[in-house]
Amino acid sequence: MENEKFSLPNYNIPEDLETIVAITTLDRLYNWGRRSSVWPLMFGLACCAIEMIAAQASRYDMSRFGMEVMRPTPRQADMMLVSGTVTKKMLPAIIRLYNQMPEPKYVVAMGACASSGGPFKEGYNVVAGIDKFLPVDVYIPGCPPTPQALIAGLIKLQEKIDRQSIKKVRWYDRKKEDANYVPMPILGPDLIDVRRNAEIKQAAAAKESAS
């Protein structure tokens, strides 16, 4: 946790002034504020959600990281903790929630299922990883990751936030306003990712000529 204090490490502030004065960069101040109040979306999918609750509960207490405010509405959340198996039936709802979250937003794939489909990957109703649709920031392996592993992953996310710069972050870039908008998939005979309609059409047509 290198950014615990927001004073830059290379300035020697006298000890008696340390509580009053800090010399820092705007980036560091900005990131310090954001990383200390990452509000997760109150959003549980499967087994991992129980470990997520356990991490919020008395023993692990995520409020030590400013993450105790779980918002049920995506409009107030900063981080989507995809905690469990993403099924095809659930995916449109997840995409809608993600699109409704305001920037800055982060996605953490908690557990094997969210990262890649996990042990249920071969299943016909399981999406092989949420990263097929959403940009994932941190992958936490484990089935389910213990609360300690989850917190370790969230510290990784904080480190990632620390490295961002106010000049480059995507949400102040006016040109790419909707860069992170994900079109809603459709539930058809199978899940239809509308970004890949042409590809699906082609593959479905090729299927017949092959047989």
Binding site: M1, S58, R59, Y60, D61, R64, A112, S115, S116, G117, G118, P119, K121, E122, G129, D131, D137, V138, Y139, I140, P141, G142, C143, P145, T146, P147, Q148, A149, I151, A152, G153, I155, K156, K160
Partner: protein, 207 residues
């Protein structure tokens, strides 16, 4: 009286609120530190815990029991001159028993004799499919694959482990699972002794 039940309930929360401070004071009186040391953590996970229950990961870490399992790793023995003697013989039992089939092993044949080399050429575990069931470690006949205790393994990308990432020294294994390691070592010694005795017995009539 209306409100008696509520008051009764509030007395419980009230008591639990003070418990932390009472416990803190009793530890101070005993002259011991309650936080950030092993004794304190052990006490907080025992049946006598009272008041605050939080273990402040990452500064404080829960004491994992020996059997705790997370992701698998491969054990190698440290040979002379730091040579890595991989215990795995690429027999493939772990790959066969793995429920989500997340282990991939490449076994090579010796180009001269055509017989399999008793060491894996490549070994992959897809950490993002692994369900931490522990079957691979349980059924490995060579004590070569074991379950890890390392919890801090989250990454910014997919977790596919290759041989290089999977290999960990036997000393590390002995550290995290001292009891099991000792038992296995004992069994191995007994097996070797029996083998030696058998070889001696079969060798002596011939000479």
């Amino acid at each position: 009286m209306y409100g008696k039940g509520i008051l009764k309930g509030l007395s419980v929360t009230w008591k639990r609120f003070w418990d932390t401070y009472l416990e803190d004071i009793s530890w101070i009186l005993k002259g011991k530190k309650r936080y950030f040391n092993e004794e304190g953590i052990r006490h907080r996970s025992s049946k006598n815990t009272r008041g605050i229950f939080t273990v402040q990961y990452p500064e404080e870490q829960l004491i994992l029991p020996e059997e705790a399992r997370y992701l698998p790793f491969l054990v190698y023995d440290e040979g002379p001159q730091g040579k890595q003697e991989v215990r795995c013989t690429s027999c493939g039992i772990c790959a066969k028993v793995c429920p989500p089939q997340c282990i991939w092993i490449v076994r090579s044949n010796d180009p001269n004799t055509g017989r399999p080399i008793p060491e894996p050429t490549e070994f992959y575990i897809d950490g993002d499919i692994c369900m931490n069931c522990g079957f691979c470690a349980e059924y490995c006949p060579f004590d070569a694959i074991k379950m890890d205790h390392d919890l801090d393994i989250a990454a910014y990308g997919r977790n596919v482990y290759n041989l290089e990432k999977l290999l960990k020294p036997a000393s590390y294994y002995n550290l995290i699972r001292p009891m099991n390691a000792a038992l296995e070592e004992q069994a191995r010694r007994a097996k070797e002794a029996a083998k030696a005795a058998k070889a001696e017995a079969s060798a002596s009539p011939a000479t």
